[in-house]
Symmetry: C2
Subunit: 252 residues, 2 copies
C-alpha cells in the first residue's frame, strides 16, 4: 500500500459540552460515505475534545493573581487568560517578545500552555488541553470499537509553534492504539546499510497530515480520518513518549 | 475538497548522477496509473536530488582538518564525515552528547548539516543538501511543466530532529510554486472570531505527510505526489521563509 488518504469530516455539528464525540464521528463518517474501517487513524483537534469533556473555562469567573496581572500588562494580554495559562503550567520556559512559553502539567512545552481561544462559543471562554489526552484518545477509541466493531487508532492534535522554524504545525498531544514513534534504527535501507538515526515521530507527522484538511476550513473540520497508513499498533501508548526529556534537549 | 491523497511512487529506479529526475518521476507516475495533474505537489527527498545533480562527496578523497579529527575522536565518528559536515556549515550551534548541530550555508539549523549517509551507493559516499534547494525544486517543476503541460508545486524534503520533541519529522528545505507558509492571521473562524496566531507551515506539514509513504519503504520510495490539497501558488517562493530568524528565536 503506497497511497494514503486524508479525509476531512465535514458533517460534524459544532461540539457542545457533554456531546458524545465518538457517536458524532461515526455518524459523520457514515453520512460522508466513508464509514470507519479497522486500521483508520482518527485525528481529533484538542479543542473539541476539551469541549465535549466540559473542560472549558469561563474567563469571567477567573480572578487573576498579581503576577498574572503584571505579565498581562507587559504583554498586552487578558489577565484572566494569563492566569489560566499559568494555572495550566508547571513551569515557565521562556518569556519574551510578548510570548509566554510554558511547560504544561503533562510536560508539553508550548505557547500559552496550549490554552486555545479560537473556536469556542462565547468570547471569554477558553479550552485548555484535555486533562489526560491519552485517556481521552483511548475513550474515543473504545467507544468507536463498541459502536462499529472496528479497531482504530486515535490521535488528539494541537497546533504548536517551534524553535528554529517559522510557522506552526500540528503535533500529537494524545494517542491511543498507535506507537507514536517508529524506531527504524537497526533496519536496513535499500543498499543494505543500517539506518543510523531514524526514529520517526509518526504521530506528529499524522497530526500534520490531518491539519492539511482541518486547517483549510476555518475550524469547520475538526476531525480527519487517515486511511491506508500501516501504523504500529500499541496498547497503553502515550504521547508523552514524544516529549524530549530536558536532559536530552540541547536547546532548553 | 476535503480529501487529500498521498501517493508514493514505487517505480522509480535507483537515482544515479546525471539522471533526469523529472523524466523519471513523470514516467513512474504514468506507470503507476497516477499521471501528474496540475495542482499536484511533488515531494522529493533531498538525497536523490543531490545525487542526480552530482552533488555527492567521496569521503575517501576528503582530508580532515585537525579540528575535525578532534571532534571525530570525541564523538566516535568518521573524521572525513565530520570534515564534510563542517565544510557544509556556516556556524556550529550546539555540540554535546555526540550530536553536532550546525547552521548550514542555507541557514537551516540541523544535525550534521543535513549530510546524509543512508541510501547512497558506496559505503564512503555522502550526499549533502542541494546547493540551492529552491532552484533545484524550480528546475524539477519547470521540467515537469515542459514534459506534461501541468503546473505542479515541488517540495524538497529532509528528515530533521527538533528541540522539545522526540523523533524526527520531514520538513521542507526547498520549494517551488507554493507558498510555504499559510498566513491565516486576520481570517475569521467558524464563530466569526479573528484567528490570532495562525501562520501554518504547510510546506513542512506536506513534507511530513509525504514521509508517511516515503518512510515505510526503507528508502525505496523517494518521491510522493500529494493530490487534492489546494495550496497557495507562488512564483519565487523560498523555503528560507521557514527558517526562524535568530533574533526571533527564544531557544537559540
Amino acid at each position: 500500500m503506497s497511497t494514503i488518504e486524508v479525509i476531512g469530516l465535514k458533517d460534524l455539528p459544532i461540539i457542545k459540552v457533554g456531546d458524545n464525540l465518538s457517536e458524532l464521528i461515526c455518524a459523520a463518517a457514515e453520512k460522508q460515505d466513508v464509514p470507519i474501517q479497522s486500521g483508520d487513524i482518527i485525528v481529533v483537534t484538542h479543542v473539541i475534545v476539551s469541549r465535549a469533556e466540559g473542560n472549558i473555562i469561563d474567563l469571567e469567573k477567573i480572578v487573576p493573581s498579581e503576577f498574572a496581572k503584571n505579565i498581562a500588562r507587559q504583554y498586552e494580554k487578558d489577565p484572566a487568560l494569563i492566569e489560566v495559562v499559568l494555572r495550566e503550567s508547571k513551569s515557565v520556559k521562556r518569556m519574551a517578545h510578548g510570548i509566554l512559553i510554558t511547560e504544561t502539567r503533562h510536560g508539553f512545552v508550548c505557547a500559552n500552555s496550549g490554552v486555545d481561544k479560537s473556536n469556542v462559543e462565547g468570547e471569554r471562554v477558553v479550552a485548555p488541553l484535555p486533562v489526560n489526552p491519552d485517556a481521552s484518545a483511548q475513550r474515543i477509541r473504545e467507544e468507536i470499537r463498541k459502536r462499529t466493531g472496528k479497531d482504530v487508532a486515535v490521535i488528539i492534535s494541537d497546533t504548536h509553534g517551534r524553535p528554529l522554524r517559522m510557522g506552526e504545525i500540528n503535533i500529537a498531544v494524545g494517542v491511543a492504539g498507535i506507537k507514536p514513534l517508529r524506531d527504524r534504527r537497526g533496519e536496513k535501507d535499500l543498499f543494505g546499510y543500517v539506518l543510523r538515526i531514524k526514529n520517526t515521530a509518526v504521530a506528529d507527522e499524522l497530526a500534520s497530515a490531518a491539519e492539511l484538511v482541518i486547517g483549510q476550513a476555518n475550524e469547520g473540520i475538526p476531525v480527519a480520518i487517515i486511511r491506508g497508513y500501516k501504523y504500529l499498533k500499541a496498547e497503553n501508548a502515550t504521547a508523552r513518549d514524544l516529549i524530549r526529556p530536558e536532559e536530552q534537549d540541547l536547546f532548553l
